[in-house]
């Protein structure tokens, strides 16, 4: 039971990192990044593969975050000046291309069967202690990212991002370099998602293309939107609710619903889709909208 809870908490915190990253891009800056999973995947694969070549894990994880950030840069330069719809679809395209590279470039990624045997974080410890240690490391990482983003929110940089989100033309008229701000937000968010991916790889010790489908992106989206776009605390709350929902629905069958595994999975995503729609219709600002001072 305790190792089950630790496992859920680890996945939950990885989602918190992903959510905080998306909240910077979407909540603070208004960028519709529908390709979030691509940064997650790049971070996971980069860190996993580099550590297999013998690079120490912390360095590999840093490289994963860095590369995920760098990979988002051209996407930002290309699309942030265009209408928001263009970024949305282009980002989906970006993540699909990343996934097809993972599936096809056997020499690099070993194709659809994935990369096994990635060195685990804290490999010297027995299983339960290992989980607890990874959890502790993730708590620290998430806390640092959270504090960093909170600071950023209050700093002039964060105010500029929100100004751009709320009224791009006015921000431009005040001399803000829109492209530069948006691109930096996108890149920083992608790097955080890459870090999440690195943790994921060194926790599971296995990565494969099918872990990085668009569903991951939209899980994170629903967490941010339900929690309250623009609010880091709201994002954490939203992630908590998402994990509760994903784990809770495992036990739906105990209530007498005779669904097979794939039907249960499908039902879960139907509910997530419906929740997105309902949020947009009735509560677009989420459960914990940012306070007026910081929002």
């Amino acid at each position: 039971m305790i190792s089950y809870l630790i496992a859920i908490a680890i996945i939950g915190l990885i989602y918190v990192l992903l959510g905080l990253a998306l909240n910077l891009q979407w909540g603070q800056t208004g960028l519709i990044n529908f390709g979030h999973v691509a940064s997650f995947a790049i971070g996971a694969y980069t860190s996993g593969l580099l550590s297999l070549t013998g690079l120490p894990i912390p360095l590999a994880m840093a490289a994963g975050a860095l590369l995920a950030g760098l990979a988002a840069w051209p996407l930002g330069r290309l699309t942030v000046t265009l209408k928001e719809d263009y970024l949305a679809i282009t980002a989906i395209g970006f993540s699909e291309v990343v996934r097809s590279v993972l599936e096809n470039e056997m020499w690099l990624t070993r194709g659809p069967s994935g990369v096994p045997g990635i060195p685990s974080l804290f490999a010297g410890l027995p299983a339960t202690e290992r989980g607890a240690a990874i959890l502790a490391a993730l708590v620290i990482a998430a806390a640092i990212v959270f504090l960093l983003l909170e600071r950023l929110t209050r700093a002039p940089f964060g105010r500029a991002l929100r100004a751009i989100r709320d009224n791009e033309m006015a921000a431009a008229a005040l001399g803000k370099n829109i492209v530069s701000f948006k691109t930096r937000s996108l890149v920083l968010g992608a790097a955080i998602a890459g870090l999440a991916g690195a943790f994921y790889a060194h926790y599971l010790t296995f990565v494969s293309p099918e872990q990085f489908t668009p569903e991951v992106t939209f899980n994170v989206w629903i967490a941010v939107i339900v929690g309250g776009s623009g609010s880091n605390l709201g994002t954490i709350l939203g992630t908590f609710l998402l994990i509760l929902f994903l784990e809770g629905t495992r036990f739906l069958n105990d209530l007498g619903l005779a669904l097979d595994g794939s039907q249960l999975g499908a039902l879960r995503f139907m509910l997530i889709g419906a929740a997105l729609v309902l949020c947009m219709l009735f509560r677009p600002s989420g459960l914990l909208p940012p306070s007026t001072r910081s929002g």
Binding site: K83, E84, A88, T90, G93, F218, A266, G273, L278, P284
Partner: protein, 289 residues
């Protein structure tokens, strides 16, 4: 050369299907001003409803296809009435996120009902026509001809009928159109019905060429979007031309590169268009900004 021309012929048939899905995406983008991600999932629904009637209920295939198209038109219209219409005064961002929700709901509804296993229409195998050393299957020929007929009809409708004039008026300036007495609600509703129905037709035709999975339509999102921006948002003939180009490029990439890199080729096209001509090859107005 032989292989090249053969590939181009296959690409035209794929492009025709992309065009049918893209045209609704384009019209909605023009009139309601957001990219309706769920539009491509309507194609999936069209294919599966047709499968249901053709296989399980033994309805003749053309009739089953008509039922499929009608079901899709109803679904698309329902989504408009229930979701998009209520959000029409919101920013495009809100609408596009809602459309992702609708997309998820529809795709996993299909998964829930029909499972994610591959399925196929039970159609007879027909011998390919041959001319000058090239082969074209009767189904591909039918797909191409049907698409051309649909686009001819659409072009005439938009150019020469009262509905077409109203639609163009609404898309150019919604408030002016309303003041001028154009019943914009009716026009927009009709546009959603037509766009959705055509997406359903596209899904059914794709189901003839490929296997059915709940991702059938999702795979068309990038190609259809590429066709829309390549052809210029809102231009029906531009969309057709853009879709044919995308279809051919995708097929060439599949043959000369790797089948699974079709998506990468389409993505490269999107990037190129956005870099060089965001208003599209055939679009005149700067609509991208």
């Amino acid at each position: 050369m032989q292989l090249f021309i053969q590939t181009v012929i296959d690409g035209i048939s794929t492009g025709a299907i992309i065009a049918l899905v893209a045209v609704g995406l384009s019209l909605v983008f023009r009139i309601s001003r957001f990219v309706n991600v769920a539009h491509v999932d309507l194609a999936t629904i069209g294919a599966y409803v047709t499968l249901l009637f053709a296989s399980s209920l033994a309805t003749p295939f053309p009739l089953a296809a008509l039922i499929g198209i009608a079901a899709v038109a109803a679904t698309g219209f329902g989504a408009y009435k229930l979701v998009y219409r209520r959000l029409r005064s919101e920013r495009a961002i809100t609408l596009i996120i809602a459309s992702v929700g609708v997309s998820f709901f529809l795709r996993y509804l299909v998964t829930f009902i029909w499972s994610s296993n591959q399925q196929a229409f039970d159609l007879p195998l027909l011998r390919a026509y041959r001319f000058a050393g090239f082969r074209i299957s009767p189904y591909d020929l039918m797909i191409i001809l049907a698409t051309l007929a649909v686009f001819a009809a659409l072009h005439i409708t938009l150019r020469y009928t009262a509905f077409g004039r109203s639609l163009r008026a609404v898309s150019d300036n919604p408030s002016l159109a309303r003041v001028a007495g154009v019943a914009s609600e009716r026009v927009v509703s009709l546009m959603w019905l037509i766009g959705a129905g055509l997406a359903g037709l596209g899904g059914i035709l794709l189901g003839i060429k490929a296997v059915l999975t709940p991702y059938l339509g999702w795979q068309l999102l990038l190609p259809a979007f590429a066709a829309v921006i390549l052809g210029g948002v809102g231009s029906v003939t531009g969309t057709l031309a853009g879709a044919l180009i995308i279809g051919i490029v995708g097929e060439l990439a599949a043959i000369y590169w790797l089948p699974t890199y079709r998506v990468a080729a389409v993505f490269a096209m999107i990037v190129l268009v956005l870099l060089i001509r965001p208003q599209g090859l055939f679009g005149a107005k700067a609509v991208a900004k």
